[in-house]
């Protein structure tokens, strides 16, 4: 009983209603902020840690990324004639320790974040999917 006698006017609720009304009318920079995801995407930051990519020319297959990985995500496999890392993204923490440790700056983490797939096997990103060649002009 005591609580309502003090709050007869329900001023607090009125204030709240005004706040929500401001949002309905979008007064004072209270505009819609969400994006329509599959149709429009937000820009990811340059440092974003997404799927790994390996510079084909720079990578020497040393395996430092493999030893540095906390979760045994990386395995060095033979591809064509040379050795490259293979990433099991199902286990990847996206911590970026492999990128930090790479002595040749060959391993980069890209802004690719849409990695969901149907099977565990397809989450294993071998060299055929992660290798890239650096453009000479850059």
């Amino acid at each position: 009983m005591a609580w309502i006698s003090r709050n007869w006017a329900m001023i607090g609720i009125m204030k709240g209603l005004i706040v929500t009304m401001k949002h309905i009318l979008q007064i004072g920079n209270r505009k819609t902020v969400t994006v329509q995801y599959p149709y429009e995407r937000m820009k990811v930051a340059p440092r974003f840690r997404g799927r790994q990519a390996v510079d084909e020319d720079a990578c020497i297959g040393c395996g430092i990324c493999e030893t540095n990985c906390p979760n045994s995500t990386i395995q060095i496999v033979k591809y064509r004639t040379r050795w490259f890392p293979e990433f099991n993204l199902g286990m990847c923490l996206f911590c970026g320790l492999c990128e930090d440790a790479c002595p040749m700056n060959a391993l980069k983490m890209t802004g690719d974040y849409e990695l969901a797939d149907y099977t565990r096997e397809s989450l294993i990103y071998g060299p055929e999917r992660t290798l890239f060649k650096k453009e000479v002009s850059k």
Binding site: M1, K31, Q36
Partner: protein, 365 residues
């Protein structure tokens, strides 16, 4: 002078000169009652279709309103601005597996959602959508509405009990407790209006609100009984079971309350009933306190049409208000709600009734 939708259809048919022909046909085969049944069925079909369309639109409106308040878009993909989202939802719900939990009372479990929906649909019978646009003007209209509303908690209790789930049972018992404690102030405030009108008929209540005081203020009961209006509104929101009084489902505590175990079409029935109830109760508020379909008469356009438009506009205003409120406030606790109902609303409603009775007896108005 037409008084209800049946007469209106007859009048329209007569105006275009078809009625006598059809009537003649049926008289020839000696089955005049078949025509009556057909017309009644047409009226029922129109009302049901109208209610279903409104329900679909309302569910879209609610989500959109919610989204706008929360700086979101809401449904956008199906149709323009996601307008056909309710249809997509309906198709999805139809395709869902219709599960009945082990240990549930199968018959009651299956029956309960339909009872809810039918009991809500019955409320529309004495509700005047516009001049002459009434299924049937019952002489006990208001009493009938309050009585029919009391079926809903019974079916909710059935649903909760039959689910064999503790959350459902708590939700159902909450719903009943809430409904009992809020039907009383609802009825008492409605009686205060009846005291002024002198009739329980919804049509009489609307007619009593036509005209103006001093030429400007419409003779709506909201101006005569502001306290009564507020009490009635709160009781109606509680009756509808919407935030801040949505204990029957209170998602965060009871998962989904009495329809925790429901899925597929049965869930859709509860869903439809909820929005149909929202529309019906808003219509009742409009009819009793906001002048019903009364509004300025526009020449050349038939009054049946303008009155319908006025009614819809007013009803949507009430609905939008409840949605706006829902977006803003959290939920009350069940014991606080019952406290509010029994200790504050009922005494105030009685006071309101007393003042109304005094005013009428003293002949002030």
């Amino acid at each position: 002078m037409t008084t209800n939708a049946y007469d209106l259809i007859v009048a329209i048919l007569s105006a275009i000169g078809l009625y006598d022909m059809i009537l003649g046909f049926f008289q020839d085969i000696g089955a005049e009652y078949v025509l009556r049944i057909i017309i009644v069925l047409v009226v029922i079909a129109v009302v049901v279709v109208f209610v279903l369309l409104t329900v679909m639109f309302l569910s879209w409106l609610e989500r959109k309103m919610f989204a706008v308040v929360q700086a979101r878009y809401g449904p956008m993909v199906t149709g323009p601005r996601g307008l056909f989202q309710p249809i997509a939802d309906g198709v999805k719900l139809l395709g869902k597996e219709d599960t009945i939990p082990a240990g549930a009372d199968r018959w009651i479990f299956t029956l309960a959602p339909y009872i809810v929906f039918v009991s809500v649909l019955l409320v529309f019978i004495p509700l005047p959508f516009g001049k002459s646009l009434i299924v049937s003007d019952l002489k006990v209209g208001l009493l009938y509405i309050i009585a029919i509303s009391a079926i809903t908690p019974i079916s909710i209790l059935l649903a909760g009990w039959a689910s064999n789930n503790k959350y459902s049972l708590i939700g159902a018992i909450r719903a009943v407790a809430q409904d009992i404690s809020y039907t009383i102030p609802l009825a008492i405030t409605a009686i205060a209006v009846v005291v002024f009108v002198g009739s329980l008929s919804m049509l009489d209540i609307v007619n009593a609100q036509s005209g103006y005081w001093f030429g400007i203020i419409p003779k709506w009961f909201i101006f005569l009984q502001p306290l009564g209006f507020i009490l009635f509104l709160i009781a109606c929101i509680a009756e509808m079971g919407r935030i801040p009084f949505d204990f029957q489902e209170s998602e965060q505590e009871l998962v989904a309350g009495f329809f925790t175990e429901y899925s597929g079409m049965k869930f859709a029935m509860f869903f439809l009933a909820e929005y149909a109830h929202l529309f019906a109760v808003s219509g009742i508020i409009v009819t009793i306190f906001l002048g019903g379909w009364n509004g300025p008469v526009i020449p050349l356009i038939p009054i049946e049409l303008t009155s319908l438009v006025y009614f819809i506009i007013k009803t949507y205003a009430v609905i939008l208000f409840t949605m706006w409120l829902r977006d803003t406030v959290p939920r009350v606790r069940i014991d606080q709600l019952l406290n509010l109902g029994w200790k504050i609303m009922i005494p105030l409603a009685l006071l309101n009734l007393l003042v109304a009775a005094f005013v009428v007896t003293a002949g002030v108005i």
